[in-house]
């Protein structure tokens, strides 16, 4: 080290700096979430639902996908009834004789999996396109953003319907359909904030240090675009789950043998009028709880991550 002489710092600095804590923005956000009662409620709801979905095979009294365990004679039993073999159907059974409680646990698995996986893929694709669009600018930007415009001008459900009609049924197919309908939202969000960030002096600073473009994009622009992206992603996961439920309800999402929440609601819909409310209502309530939980977190995140509210 050639130049290590230490300078005498006669530092008298006026107030203005926050007390040094060394806590990263990530943990500050988590801390703020936990201190917000609504967000905490959302976190608990979503956390519990995800947990039971994960451990469904361990806690569910029945495997609703195993047709051998079902008994058609137990069809449409009211909540609390006992089966021929002596087990209690907590939430009743559907027309196939499935234990609704077990079916909901397994349905949650599918719904959450589809929601998160499709949102993650769409986020990766969308964020990538958005960053390229903002950083390249000019013609590339114009072309990419017109594609986004076209994509957004079609109703999501219409695109999904057409795609599923072509691709057929299945979890992978519905994930593809959801990604196609969702990526554009991420692309637009990321492009917007990346454009703002790339005008700021610290990007000039990075460029004046001759950092490679890829490094500037990934290490400098992307992390600063994360706050709006996280908010959009949270809301979009909820939307993807709802869209999947809608598609399944319409009978073109998932096969009947692997019911998601939407399909369960659809199954019970025929019997609503005959008084067998539980088949639709319990899966519906679960879906509602999940969506509300995610949105509570999303709302709180939007408030916490909004730079104008800092201070």
């Amino acid at each position: 080290m050639t130049r290590s002489t230490q300078l005498q710092a006669s530092v008298h600095e006026p107030a203005g700096a926050l007390p040094p804590s060394g806590i990263s923005p990530f943990w500050r956000t988590i801390g703020a979430l936990l201190r917000n009662p609504l967000a905490l409620t959302g976190l608990i709801i979503v956390g519990l639902l995800v947990l039971v979905a994960l451990i469904a095979p361990l806690v569910a009294p029945q495997n609703p996908y195993d047709l051998g365990q079902l008994d058609i004679m137990d069809g449409r039993l009211a909540p609390g009834s006992e089966s021929m073999t002596g087990m209690t159907y907590l939430l009743g059974t559907d027309d196939q004789g499935r234990d609704l409680f077990s079916a909901i646990l397994y349905g949650l698995r599918t719904s959450i999996l589809v929601g998160i996986v499709s949102a993650a893929i769409a986020l990766l694709i969308g964020a990538g396109i958005g960053l390229i669009s903002a950083y390249a600018g000019g013609r590339t930007d114009a072309v990419l953003m017109r594609i986004v415009d076209i994509q957004l001008s079609f109703p999501a459900i219409l695109i999904a319907l057409i795609l599923l009609a072509v691709l057929g049924q299945g979890v992978d197919k519905i994930i593809i359909a959801l990604v196609v309908t969702q990526w554009a939202y991420y692309a637009r969000t990321v492009r917007g904030s990346a454009l703002v960030e790339s005008k700021r002096a610290y990007i000039d600073a990075a460029r004046s240090m001759a950092l490679p473009d890829r490094r500037v994009i990934i290490r400098h622009i992307l992390p600063n675009c994360l706050p709006p992206l996280i908010v959009v992603a949270t809301m979009r996961v909820a939307y993807a789950i709802m869209l999947e439920a809608t598609l399944s309800f319409l009978g073109i999402g998932l096969p009947v043998t692997e019911p998601s929440l939407g399909l369960l609601i659809s199954n019970g819909f025929d019997y609503m009028m005959s008084g067998d409310y539980w088949i639709s209502v319990f899966p519906g309530l679960t879906l509602l709880l999940l969506i509300v939980g995610i949105n509570l977190i999303g709302d709180a995140l939007r408030d916490i991550l909004n730079p104008r509210r800092e201070g």
């Binding site: 230490q6 008298h12 203005g16």
Partner: protein
């Protein structure tokens, strides 16, 4: 003193943050007499603006004030909201720092003035319009009647501030509160506005409460001065007395850090600022500056006929309607260990020059050589090499650090990206660099928001040093800092120059700072260098008209030398030109060795 207009006693204002009340100003007391100008001066965080806002009761719901603010027989703090509304904007006028945002952009100037007149004085539309013209005349806006129908965007910054003053005067207030009204303005415009406020005060018989951070402005305008430091008044006295014999160490520190134009007469080299001991108020002697300029080796930066123009496109066909001639045919060179300052007012092209040199902006034509390497022709690889030699420090230390990166990482990053060090070496070197700029290595783990402005600028300097550059382009690097911090950062820059033999291209609008730090000075106006030469020669013997005007406009931090100026209505012209404009060939005259001045066009 005869009955004061405004009498503040025991004013304490606190803000609630995180459920706790924190005092921002404590037990403030001072009076303002009739026709008196009182300046409240202090650095950021001193509570000077909060004092003004407390008087106007403009603070939000998370603030509370106690004490007494006597105005015209009322206690403003205990007045009901409706009564306060009648005083605010009526008996007390206020002007703010930012003339760009304190006018409504979608309303015509005339309507914004008549609105106030009709609201507060109950005039009908016709009389209000006549009165509006009278007010605009009063603030010396040329052809006032014609400009009533224009929108704020048609006015320049200085003109907008005049409109704001006209609105504040609309109801013939007894007291005018001016909160940093000239801080956002160029120095020649600032001189005009200060002169205007002084004149209006005499004409209208108002009292003025003037909030500022600038000791030069204080000396220029105020009768008495209140010095604030971290929420307390440390000293109140007549301005003359404060400048002649300040009693509090903080005031003395503040004054010694104020660069004074002309204080460098007879000094050929840059000079550090004196360091004042904050407890005793003693001023340590300034160590002499070594001769750092290396004339014996080839210049580290060579600029020949640099031109940078920005096309302005219009219409659907995006045809070029004209060009902004931001930088027009400038040439200079800079030696290792030398500081060349580019000075000028906003829009003169000084920043664009700096940015063009390292290709943050694409130059239109010309030759730039950094350490013998051609900048314009460089490809990606050689550009990286050139940028290693020339680093930039930006104006806003809050903006120029990535908020999501620990400062240690930020300093280490260029070394890693250029393959100069492994990541563990880079991190340890980042610590050394932090120590070199007067911070501690342990601060490497902090995020930028955990530093104050001055510390952040030190971090930026450390980052610029990471690649061992030969040249540093400092673009308004100290302009956003408080005076005492500014002095420290400049001392640091001079230390580093002595130790590392750095060449500085120091871009600034602040003549007084420039006088302190530079070996040579180039004055820019409308994209051209109008005068360039050794600092001593340019400052002691300015030749070009614009240089003289610029120097005359700088407020002098000495009330004894207060000058009366003519109110000149000149505005800074725009470097926008038609597409087919051919810039004239400029010729220069050598006044003394190395001191060139542009010849006027015949």
């Amino acid at each position: 003193m005869s009955n004061p207009i405004l009498s503040i006693s025991g004013l304490t204002t606190s803000f609630r943050t995180g459920g706790q009340w924190r005092d921002v100003i404590r037990d403030i007391s001072f009076d303002i007499g009739p026709r008196e100008t009182v300046a409240v001066v202090g650095e950021s965080g001193s509570g000077k603006s909060v004092t003004a806002m407390s008087v106007m009761r403009l603070l939000g719901g998370n603030a509370r004030s106690s004490g007494r603010i006597g105005f015209d027989g009322h206690d403003l703090l205990s007045l009901p909201v409706e009564e306060m509304q009648k005083i605010r904007g009526n008996r007390i006028g206020m002007i703010f720092q930012e003339p760009m945002t304190s006018l409504n952009p979608v309303l015509k100037i005339g309507d914004q003035i008549t609105e106030v007149l009709m609201q507060h004085r109950g005039l009908d539309h016709a009389t209000a319009t006549t009165e509006a013209v009278r007010l605009l005349d009063k603030v010396r806006i040329p052809s006032a009647r014609a400009r009533l129908g224009e929108y704020p965007m048609n006015f320049s910054g200085g003109m907008r501030q005049r409109v704001v003053i006209a609105i504040a005067l609309a109801c013939e207030p007894k007291l005018l509160i001016a909160d940093e009204p000239t801080t956002a303005l160029d120095v020649t415009i600032q001189a005009q506005i200060l002169e205007l406020i002084k004149t209006l005060q005499q004409e209208e018989g108002m009292s003025v409460l003037f909030i500022t951070h600038d000791m030069g402005v204080v000396a220029e305008i105020s009768d008495r001065t209140v010095v604030m430091y971290r929420g307390d008044i440390v000293e109140t006295d007549t301005t003359r007395q404060i400048f002649r014999k300040a009693s509090h160490p903080y005031t003395r520190a503040l004054l010694s850090a104020v660069p004074q134009l002309g204080s460098m007469a007879g000094q050929p080299r840059p000079l550090r600022f004196p360091v004042v001991d904050m407890k005793t108020g003693e001023i340590a002697p300034v160590p002499p500056t070594a001769d750092t300029v290396r004339h014996d080796i080839a210049p580290v930066l060579k600029v020949e006929h640099l031109i940078t123009r920005f096309p302005v496109r219009k219409g659907i066909l995006r045809r070029i309607a004209g060009r902004v001639h931001a930088v027009e045919d400038i040439s200079f060179d800079l030696h290792a260990g030398e500081t060349l300052s580019l000075v000028g007012e906003s829009g003169c092209g000084k920043s664009t020059t700096g940015r063009s040199l390292i290709r943050l902006e694409k130059m239109t034509s010309g030759r730039v050589q950094i350490d013998g390497k051609e900048v314009a022709k460089a490809n990606q690889g050689s550009l990286a090499e050139i940028r290693r030699e020339a680093q930039m420090i930006f104006q806003d230390p809050f903006e120029s650090l990535n908020p999501r990166m620990r400062v240690g990482q930020a300093i280490a990053e260029p070394m890693i990206a250029h393959g100069l060090a492994s990541s563990s070496e880079a991190i340890s070197r980042a610590g050394t660099l932090l120590e070199q700029v007067g911070l501690s290595a342990a601060m490497a783990d902090r995020f930028p928001h955990e530093f104050s402005g001055g510390q952040r600028q030190r971090v930026c300097i450390a980052r610029a040093l990471a690649l061992d550059p030969k040249l540093i382009v400092a673009d308004e690097s100290v302009s956003a800092l408080d005076v005492s911090i500014k002095a420290q950062v400049i001392n640091l820059m001079l230390d580093l120059q002595e130790r590392l033999g750095l060449g500085y291209l120091f871009i600034s609008h602040d003549m007084a700072v420039v006088e302190r730090i530079s070996h040579r000075v180039a004055v820019m106006y409308l994209g051209e260098i109008v005068e360039i030469g050794p600092r001593q020669s340019v400052f002691e013997n300015p030749q070009h008209d614009y240089t003289r005007r610029l120097m005359a406009a700088v407020p002098i931090a000495d009330p004894a030398r207060r000058q009366t100026r003519r109110i000149v209505d000149s505005e800074i012209k725009s470097p926008f030109r038609a597409a087919d404009y051919q810039p004239p060939k400029r010729r220069y005259r050598e006044v003394s060795p190395g001191h060139f001045v542009q010849l006027a066009m015949e």
